[in-house]
């Protein structure tokens, strides 16, 4: 179903669609195994378009927009298999903007001159985002962070927003890439991007505060990350199925267009329904939540559903393509691989459901 957008939102979506027209499967292939695995110039371009500072309040020189606008852009990023970490950069920017005085990195993060990304995960499964094992200690202005963060999208990053436990609970800390005691080790992923383990040993850090009115900064950033990934997964699903429906309309077997076979039609409808349901969910959440205080249960719900359905849908797309879908040459496999990566980040579907049980009060 169409979204009911304002004319400004429509303009924004069209501008994002134009941006991704220069991305797509071919470009994503080109970045496989490159360092960094994206074009820094394109990240700066997205900064110039205002996207990285989209959620940052006017008062901190951002656009002061909401989740609907973020979702519109990230949906397009997902569609285009965009390699530049626009979503992670944009949500980090809003975190950097929360203090009474914004963090010094904010301006460069908003223009794309620097890349700051969240580093919130520690285990492969079952993290409690509000109880990191990583510790932060020391006086204000002389903080030190020690611990290990995993699955960090550190490729090309200049700094990290690290969750760490202090005496009174979790805090969000900024750690520079080149800080002493900060080391990275990277692993290649199936979609050609990298995930890193970030080891911190007495690394100097700045506290990234939360607004008084908002929830804890770690929770706020975590929920925003879940939402952003859900919107991007939505875009991945959309484009994968469009490619597939197009194929069903032209491929012939048994003398007929395969899209005329009822069994394939119904499978196509099944994936379409999943995508529509996720789109409604994402945009309802967007319309009713402030970016830095998203209801944690809804954030978990969106990421659970997006992670599960994106894998299901992109797998079904390969099945509907038949043999050709299984070749590396064909683009459709790239959507499955991107879905594998995004689904796994910040907790997969099962992990989100486990959190949801606790935070949605299901068993109360």
């Amino acid at each position: 179903m169409d979204l009911h957008l304002t004319s400004e939102q429509t303009l924004l979506r069209d501008s994002a669609a134009k941006f991704i027209a220069a991305a797509g499967p071919k470009v994503a292939r080109g970045f496989r195994g490159q360092a960094p695995g994206f074009a820094p110039a394109r990240l700066r371009e997205s900064g110039e378009l205002g996207w990285l500072g989209m959620l940052v309040p006017d008062s901190a020189n951002g656009l002061g927009l909401g989740l609907t606008e973020l979702a519109l852009v990230l949906e397009q990023a997902g569609r285009g298999l965009v390699c530049e970490p626009i979503g992670l950069a944009a949500i980090s920017a809003v975190a950097l903007a929360q203090g009474r005085t914004p963090h010094p990195m904010l301006e460069r993060a908003m223009t794309g001159a620097a890349l700051v990304v969240p580093a919130l995960q520690e285990g492969a499964f079952g993290d409690d985002p509000l109880a990191p094992r990583t510790q932060v200690a020391g006086e204000s202005g002389a903080l030190r962070v020690t611990g290990t963060k995993t699955f960090v999208c550190a490729d090309g990053a200049d700094g990290f927003l690290v969750s760490a436990s202090a005496r009174d609970g979790p805090e969000l800390c900024y750690v520079a890439r080149n800080a002493p005691g900060c080391t990275l080790s990277a692993t290649q992923t199936v979609d050609g991007r990298k995930l890193s383990t970030l080891s911190l040993k007495d690394a100097p850090a700045d506290l990234v505060p939360s607004r008084q009115s908002s929830r804890n900064a770690v929770d706020a950033l975590h929920n925003l990350a879940l939402f952003a990934l859900s919107a991007e997964l939505l875009g991945v699903m959309e484009k994968a199925q469009e490619i597939t429906f197009d194929y069903l309309r032209i491929r012939k077997q048994f003398g007929k267009l395969i899209g005329s076979f009822q069994a394939l039609q119904h499978k196509a409808v099944d994936i379409y329904i999943k995508t529509e349901a996720l789109r409604s969910l994402v945009f309802q959440i967007a319309a009713n939540n402030d970016p830095y205080r998203i209801d944690p249960a809804l954030a978990a719900a969106a990421k659970a559903k997006a992670s599960e359905d994106a894998l299901t849908v992109t797998q079904a797309c390969i099945q509907l393509h038949g043999g050709i879908g299984f070749t590396d040459e064909h683009d459709i496999g790239l959507y499955l691989k991107r879905a594998m990566l995004l689904s796994s980040l910040f907790g997969n579907a099962a992990a989100q459901r486990r959190r949801y049980v606790a935070i949605a009060g299901l068993t109360a």
Partner: protein
């Protein structure tokens, strides 16, 4: 579920909640089957007197003319208090159709009794040989002078045995090609001579449905809605409305509550494997509510969801079945009990709603038919 009420909305919600708590008889709460008219209609009249019977109808026709948010609040509060399912054929189906297609005289005759609850309507579409393939219906209406003579057989007619009026699709041109072009939309007084109604007992033990036999029933020509042979278009114009109605997340929310109560009673609520399925179900209910809000939003802004309402029908009906399967699981050894189960958390009916939920993917266009519709009309897949 997503929204935070604006101050005026919050006030409205509290008013609705307090009024419902005070006025809905306890015996009508949390019912899994629709109570018979003798029990249900007094509640209909109460709502009607309060002016809340038709939130979505314009004020000129006696509705509330409520905003979208007010309608949603109303739905949520009705679900919250466990209100019974009202007869909707009048309020949601023929009412809107008459507003769009009927003459002023027809509107004046039929709309007020719907608001008042002085008549009950039923929908005469399906026939034994025309279920999924509705266009092949064969109930004949022959124009003789200023009357139609109706002969034929309708089936799966909800509440026909309690109804005063039927809006029916009848064949007025047996030769027409395509067959849809020979169908008209007729209002039939159920008290007319020549009508026989036979209730159908369902596997869930209720009598929601009937068969209706027409043996040369005389219907005044003035009961035709719209033009002769134009019934198919009229019926389909508001099919989206019907699908939206049956996909109201109210039913899913009530099912979720029933699961939680049963799971507490059987003890399975503490099993993380069950919790995982409950979480998945609850997340899907949230998604259904989002789809529904989205569709209502589009409908209210005059962008009809059109064939995309089929998506909500498929998603909502299959989710309702999945929820009832989870209910059966939560009930454990009680799954097959044919009465409500008395527990420390109140009575919970298990087998009845489970069996009832079998119907939702069959009636109002089966899931298979809906998928065909979406494949052709939304995805433009080839024929």
């Amino acid at each position: 579920m997503f929204r935070h009420d604006a101050p005026a909305e919050a006030e409205f919600r509290m008013e609705v909640r307090a009024w419902l708590e005070a006025n809905l008889p306890p015996a009508l709460r949390g019912r899994t089957t629709r109570p018979p008219p003798a029990e249900l209609m007094p509640w209909y009249h109460t709502l009607s007197r309060k002016g809340w019977i038709a939130p979505h109808w314009p004020r000129q026709y006696g509705g509330m003319g409520a905003t979208l948010n007010e309608q949603i609040i109303m739905t949520e509060e009705l679900a919250r208090v466990g209100a019974p399912h009202l007869p909707v054929q009048g309020l949601n189906h023929i009412g809107p159709i008459l507003m769009e297609f009927a003459t002023e005289a027809q509107k004046a005759q039929h709309l007020p009794p719907i608001i008042e609850g002085s008549v009950i309507w039923c929908q005469g579409y399906s026939e034994p040989g025309a279920g999924s393939d509705l266009a092949s219906l064969s109930t004949r209406a022959t124009l003789e002078g200023d009357c139609f003579v109706v002969k034929g057989h309708k089936i799966w007619t909800t509440w026909a045995h309690y109804s005063d009026w039927m809006f029916a699709l009848v064949r007025t041109d047996p030769q027409a090609q395509p067959r849809q072009a020979g169908i008209s939309f007729l209002l039939i007084d159920m008290h007319s001579p020549g009508i026989t109604v036979r209730p159908i007992k369902t596997i869930a033990g209720d009598d929601e449905f009937s068969e209706v036999f027409f043996d040369d029933v005389i219907v005044p020509a003035g009961n035709l809605v719209g033009k002769l042979h134009d019934g198919w278009r009229i019926a389909n114009a508001l099919l989206g409305h019907e699908r939206l109605g049956t996909s109201n997340p109210q039913f899913a929310l009530m099912a979720l509550d029933r699961i939680k109560t049963m799971a507490r009673a059987s003890g399975v609520i503490v099993d993380p494997a069950f919790q995982d399925r409950l979480a998945a179900a609850s997340i899907n209910v949230t998604a259904l509510a989002a789809l529904f809000s989205h569709a209502v939003e589009l409908t209210n802004s005059e962008q009809s969801p059109g064939p995309e309402s089929s998506i909500i029908k498929i998603f909502g009906s299959e989710l309702l079945q999945a929820l009832n399967e989870l209910l059966i699981e939560a009930a454990g050894g009680h799954a097959a009990a044919d009465r409500p189960i008395a527990t420390d958390f109140g009575e919970v009916d298990v087998a009845t709603p489970f069996l009832q939920a079998r119907r939702v993917t069959i009636y109002g266009g089966s899931s298979e038919i809906q998928r065909n519709v979406v494949a052709r009309r939304v995805l433009n897949l080839p024929n």
